[in-house]
């Protein structure tokens, strides 16, 4: 396949005795949107949490197998052999519920990754990052006069876009979105979906969704997971019109899930 940015090798992840992800081999294509879909509890969230080493924070979590990040410079990083903090700065994450930092202003939220990590930015650099990133998530025009206010007055959709901005500000290679619109109304959902389309030129996007429609609308590639296993993976056009597995067929037509 073409330019790969993230690759897993026999990735298996478990909580205590329960194996959530079984032996997954998956290659994520650079600057494309890959959707990971499947019924609830199929391990799709666990899978992406292995990509940025968030999974191991859960109690009694275990990960086997390998995950490689291939940077633009073609440098290959085995993410389980380096500092997890470094991995998480290169692979950003956006969560189900919008979670801007309540004690920080909108401005500070965007550069929260720098503030919290103690990375000093020049005022002009910080201004530039904030403006550029907020423009990327089409939030700039809505909040440019209220940058110093706390984000609590923003709508759910705006908060989620702020969270995407916060992840983007670290200039990651990949951002992982864990059902980013499940707490949002249809209009806000559509805005986020349109946003992803614009963002894929700058960053690779992996989105977890249990919503078949969303996977169909936004993604270039789609992976279908069932009971912890990767059943099928390929271009969305192909998977959605002529899947090769019975299970994928059933999931797409709403018989399971």
């Amino acid at each position: 396949m073409s330019d790969i940015v993230l690759r897993t090798e026999n990735l298996t992840a478990s909580y205590d005795e329960h194996i959530a992800v079984k032996n997954v081999n998956l290659s994520i294509v650079r600057n494309k949107i890959t959707a990971i879909m499947g019924p609830s509890g199929c391990g799709k969230t666990t899978l992406i949490r292995c990509f940025n080493r968030m999974h191991e924070l859960s109690p009694k979590a275990r990960v086997e197998g390998k995950v490689f990040l291939i940077e633009n410079s073609n440098e290959v990083i085995d993410i389980y052999s380096v500092d997890p903090m470094l991995v998480r700065r290169k692979i950003g994450m956006v969560f189900q519920k919008p979670n801007p930092f309540p004690t920080m202003s909108i401005y500070e939220n965007v550069i929260a990754g720098y503030i919290l990590n103690g990375i000093r930015l020049k005022k002009s650099d910080a201004d530039e990052i904030v403006e550029e990133t907020l423009k990327k998530v089409s939030l700039w025009d809505e909040v440019k006069d209220q940058l110093r206010k706390k984000g609590a007055f923003l709508s759910g959709g705006q908060q989620q876009r702020l969270c995407i901005a916060r992840a983007l500000a670290m200039k990651p290679d990949v951002i992982l979105l864990d059902e980013p619109t499940s707490a949002l109304d249809p209009v806000a959902t559509m805005k986020i979906e349109e946003l992803l389309e614009q963002l894929k030129n700058t960053v690779t996007i992996v989105i977890v969704t249990h919503n078949v429609g969303q996977a169909g609308r936004v993604s270039d590639y789609v992976a279908f997971m069932y009971l912890g296993e990767l059943v099928e993976y390929g271009p969305t056009d192909v998977i959605f019109t002529r899947p090769s597995h019975e299970k994928t067929e059933e999931f797409l037509s709403g018989k399971i899930g």
Binding site: N52, M54, L57, P59, P84, M85, L86, V87, R88, R89, G92, M93, F95, Q96, K97, N99, P100, F101, P102, T103, A112, G113, I115, L116, N117, G118, C163, R166, A167, M170
Partner: protein, 276 residues
């Protein structure tokens, strides 16, 4: 009368009774406030707040020593209990499943139930005995021990209330664990922790029993934490059981100030916690 009308009447009767009982239950507090105001407010003036007690028989004089004393005792208690309390609270919230957490939570709860005079005795044994005399330090230690479980509990509870997503958001930005706790969790829970601390101060400011054989009392102004020191509740206790009418009035005045102090702390606490 139909069944429906009967039901409405029953409902109204119950509602009236409940309202009445609720109002009645505030009476004791209102009475206390009334008596303290009635007897105390006339005593309070500038001199009362800013001068030291005069010998029996002489008119005038004030309770400055007790006000300063209480301030010093509370400060010592804060210095001792807040850092330990917050750190222990963080541990309990973050590692709530471990054995250590289970045991220390239990111990903290028991400590909260120990009568304050017993804690006074412990402070006597720990501090007064080795040093050899009563001191502000020993009083502060006693008050600090009383306050500790309050701070632990409020910190733990508030941190548990902070959405898990917030911590994940920080960790997902590559922020190390300790920085996440310090820069994200603590600020997010700050108002709650502050509430706990203020409630603690309100609680210990009025404690008398543990001070009887630790801070002991001192009619003179003292800033030395290794010397005996006065405190508002101690002064009230001493003056109230004295045979002098003049001192009784002063005890009312001091009570008045103590009540105001505690009351305003409670109001501030309420304001902070509702603003959240």
């Amino acid at each position: 009368m139909t069944k429906y009308e009967l039901r409405i009447i029953k409902s109204k009767v119950i509602s009236v009774i409940l309202t009445f009982i609720t109002i009645v239950s505030t009476f004791p507090f209102l009475l206390v406030l009334y008596f303290i105001m009635k007897n105390g407010i006339s005593v309070i003036n500038w001199e009362f707040l800013t001068s030291l007690p005069k010998p029996v028989g002489e008119p005038g004089g004030g309770i400055l020593n007790a006000i300063i004393g209480t301030a010093i005792l509370v400060t010592i208690a804060l210095i001792l209990s807040v850092p330990f309390g917050i750190l222990a609270g963080i541990y309990l919230a973050e590692r709530s499943e471990t054995k250590i957490a289970f045991i220390s939570r239990l111990v903290s709860e028991i400590l909260q139930g120990v009568p304050s005079i017993v804690i006074g005795i412990i402070a006597y044994l720990w501090v007064v005995k080795p040093i050899g005399y009563f001191s502000a330090l020993s009083g502060g230690v006693a008050l600090g021990i009383i306050m500790l479980p309050l701070v632990i509990k409020s910190t733990e509870e508030i941190l548990k209330l902070i959405p898990h997503e917030l911590k994940e958001a920080s960790l997902a930005l590559g922020v190390p664990y300790y920085k996440t706790i310090l820069k994200v969790m603590i600020p997010a829970g700050l108002s709650g922790i502050l509430t706990g601390v203020l409630t603690g101060i309100a609680r210990i400011a009025g404690e008398t029993a543990p001070l009887l054989f630790t801070a002991f009392g001192n009619p003179f102004l003292s800033f030395n934490i290794l010397k005996p020191i006065s405190a508002l509740p101690l002064l009230i206790f001493t003056y109230a059981i004295s045979p002098y009418e003049n001192w009784w009035a002063k005890a009312w005045g001091a009570s008045c100030i103590l009540v105001f102090f505690v009351l305003s702390l409670n109001i501030i606490t309420r304001l902070i916690s509702t603003r959240r």
